[in-house]
């Protein structure tokens, strides 16, 4: 086990290196020198020079111990991403945004998971019936409606017109108050795709020989479903669940934008608006690191869920 984990950790080094290389190419080589943009329209050459000095944009790109290339790696590996365009430390901004983002995405994620897994078990049980067809139709229709429409119409009807929820975030509200509607909208929008995925997983399991055996020896459908099918369907479920966790930290770009929730999604939207490469760079790197870590956790989880998987 320990050797396996160590070996997997070694494998992550080239990935992390790749991510850093990619962000360097994107934001430094392609993105270019943005000091003139930061300084604004009426800046003097001295101000521009100062900004270039501060962000290290006047240093050589490669071929020096103090080059931008080396500094890019150094700042990422020590998690100090410097200051964003409004002079605040990027890492502080990110720390501040994690809380509201998680308050939004965690209930949303578990809501979608619980509802779609239990519905998929039910649908797999009544497969071929009207209910099954209805579920598939609703799923495909739900997947076809753009996410933005869910949000806008949801916000308009539930918050603005009927006044059931607050329209926007304001500091006086409790967390439960301001995340309630976004969470509901997120669940409504997410169920289509997820239910369809889990339905396929369950139906694949239902066709296996062991299910026929279980039915043949006279087990009740409920027992087959919960004791046999659900257990065997755990592998794809675990993969999806664990790999979705890093995305929870990112928050929801669109939901946070519409409801004004000050999370990481909102931070990203702001950064896009002001072309703040520093924030986007940091977010890209941090989310990639989280993804790599949770990928490792998925592989370890496999060995608990499926004894056939051995970690040699």
């Amino acid at each position: 086990m320990t050797t396996y984990i160590i070996r997997r950790l070694v494998y992550t080094i080239p990935i992390v290196f790749g991510v850093l290389l990619l962000t360097f190419v994107l934001f430094t080589l392609v993105g270019g020198d943005i000091s003139i943009e930061i300084a604004g329209k009426n800046a003097t050459p001295e101000t521009i020079e100062e900004i270039r000095e501060e962000y290290g944009l006047n240093k050589p790109l490669f071929l020096s111990w103090d080059s931008q290339f080396i500094n890019h790696f150094e700042s990422a590996l020590t998690f100090s991403f410097g200051r964003s365009r409004d002079r605040e430390l990027v890492i502080d901004k990110i720390k501040r945004g994690v809380g509201p983002s998680l308050a939004l995405t965690v209930p949303m994620f578990f809501g979608v998971l619980v509802i779609s897994v239990s519905l998929s078990l039910f649908v797999a049980f009544v497969r071929g019936s009207v209910w099954d067809v209805l579920a598939v139709v609703i799923c495909v229709a739900g997947m076809s409606i753009p996410y933005l429409s869910f949000i806008l119409f949801g916000q308009y009807f539930f918050a603005y017109k009927w006044g059931l929820f607050p329209v926007f975030f304001s500091p006086g509200l409790t967390t439960a108050q301001y995340v309630a509607l976004p969470v509901l909208i997120g669940i409504a929008a997410g169920i289509g795709g997820n239910l369809r995925f889990y339905r396929t997983v369950m139906l694949d399991e239902m066709r296996s020989d062991y299910v026929r055996t279980a039915f043949a020896k006279g087990l009740s459908p409920r027992r087959v479903l919960f004791k046999h099918v659900l257990k065997n369907a755990m592998i794809p479920i675990i993969t999806r669940v664990v790999l979705a966790i890093p995305f929870l930290f990112l928050g929801s770009l669109l939901l946070e934008r519409f409801f004004g929730i000050p999370g990481l999604g909102y931070l990203m939207v702001e950064a896009i608006g002001s072309r703040d490469y520093f924030v986007i760079n940091a977010m890209t790197y941090i989310s990639a690191i989280l993804f790599v870590i949770f990928n490792l956790i998925t592989d370890i989880c496999y060995s608990f869920a499926d004894p056939r998987v051995s970690l040699g």
Binding site: A141, I145, F197, L254, V269, T284, S287
Partner: protein, 311 residues
Amino acid sequence: MGESEETICVSKQPKGRSLWADGIRRLRRRKLAMISFVIIVAYFSLAGFIYVAELLDWEVSPTLWAKQTGDSYQPPSSENIFGTDIFGQSVFRKTLYGTKISMTVALCASFISIFIGVPLGAIAGFFRGFVDEIIVWVYSTLSSIPYILLILAFAIVLRDKTLFGYKLTGITAVYLAIGLTSWVGICRLIRGEVIKHKEREYVLAARSYGCSERRIIFRHLIPNVFHLVIIDFSLRFVAFIHAEVILSFLGLGEANRPSWGAMINDARIELSRGVWWQMAAATVAIFFISLTLNIFGDALRDSLDPKLRIQ
């Protein structure tokens, strides 16, 4: 007697059907899929028609989207069936014009990711070894960054940059960003299939009569796995359309011409005044193309490759 029966049997033996002919035959039996196909073709024809009309300066409804057809914020009526926006432009015409933007982005993004993903996947699967490791490293790196963040990072950096003397404005940056980030899935799929196909007899046969490796990859292996590309992209196309909408909405898309994403962005402020028609028009337009592509893509997958699972 016995002899004649045998000859009848032989003459009755059906002609062999290719994978494609068989797939199309099965697809034709599905009414819903065929209806969807007609609607998809209609969307594409509309987009193509707008291109031709713009090129030849025809004064038809979608190319005249900028013309004022009524007062500001008129609700749907017989004159403007989807009402008008803030400038009094017809929402219906804007929706039609948005088709062109969405279809162009999704199609170009698909072509870019196929042109990158398919050859890379085939080369990785065929040669294995060091080449394979490099290609796998590249796509593992890309896939460890959340998709939406990756597209955003590409879109924001590519926007207004000059590439080979050509300025990347509006939708060019959008489809480049989507295309350059979306080839990972297809590359992985093709690599896996090629690894399996490499051991088959037809590849051995091709080798034995002296085909070059390039010929084996591009003339034998890729055509034999290409149906997977078609299936994959019929479903991925929907994601591209939705990505374009989100990018346009975030202000990274086409700025000067109407697109569905920009219409939804306008609607953000309008909805609170009770102006719902622009929002509804864009939603309906996106809904139908997504729905038909989803239905058609599923049917296509079942017809061409019943064993393939949903990813």
